[in-house]
Symmetry: C2
Subunit: 159 residues, 2 copies
DNA sequence: GGTGAAACTTCTAATAA
DNA sequence: TTATTAGAAGTTTCACC
């Protein structure tokens, strides 16, 4: 996969879009002292290159009654079942991300639930999947999400 | 935290915004057979209520040369140092999320790096933090992200 | 590559229902 | 709560640097 070359302008455009996708191109243009047309062309180029894959709103799951987060490590009976089990896991909407991993666990996933009671149901759903022989749960007491912009800066400064 | 009441219309608006924040309100209106003004009012209401926290672009980190993902479980010398250590961890831009957890680990985080060599540097940075006495790394061989929309549907159907 | 302005589309807020 | 509408604001294209 080829590394796409971004210059300082692209980088600053991304920074602003990371914070808010609806920031007007005219505002970006004003801040970077370029024209709105240029912003448009550059964003389009990054979209076409697949650097910008899409955009999404950020929801407050706590306000939606979903304040429970946990990570679940999964041990399989047999690693040949990995693909199959992963598909079953991904059918559970409460599983937000799943990884095939090296180390202790074969599969590792993050779940989101309403509360402990509800989380128990989700974990039971996982335990019920054929091929999973044991799970190990780590409950999140506090989540801190790192600023996307900071990662972008560190990526950019190495390019 | 009070649960905000969303109706079917709100839910469908969220669905469309989850897929693409830049979808014109007029398109949403057309699809849901309501006016663009109504869409605007409802989105604003959800923003004011904090249900919609913001919006961001999704980047392709692989294309940016960052194809390495790992989870790192952290053991502390003393749990009283948790807050302090978490702050140090969050200063590393390659750590994208960190959690205080129950279970084996005291802190659990996700890192993003260029490759194994680079990941080693990041993990060494973690190991160097005062108060951390051991880390355990799980490398992601494959990541599958579950559709946000599916989670929203399951949340909505329980409301 | 970038610009600036025209043409087009979308947003927003006020008014009315 | 929702619809309509008109003016403001944003986006996109294009001829020209």
């Amino acid at each position: 996969m080829a590394k796409f070359k971004l210059d300082e302008i692209d980088h600053q455009i991304l920074d602003m879009l990371i914070e808010n996708t609806r920031v007007p191109f005219t505002d970006i243009a004003k801040k970077l002292l370029i024209s709105a047309g240029t912003v448009h062309v550059r964003v389009k180029k990054m979209e076409d290159a697949g650097i910008i894959k899409g955009s999404s709103i950020t929801l407050d799951y706590k306000k939606l009654g979903y304040s429970f987060i946990a990570y679940v490590g999964i041990y399989l009976q047999n690693t040949s079942q990995t693909k199959f089990v992963l598909e079953r896991i991904n059918e559970i909407p409460n599983v937000t991300v799943a990884h095939i991993t090296t180390g202790k666990f074969n599969i590792f996933c993050k779940i989101r639930a309403k509360n402990t009671e509800h989380a128990k149901d989700v974990i039971f759903q996982l335990d019920d999947i054929d091929g999973i022989y044991r799970t190990e749960t780590m409950i999140s007491l506090e989540e801190s999400i790192n600023d996307k912009k900071r990662l972008m800066h560190s990526i950019f400064n190495e390019m």
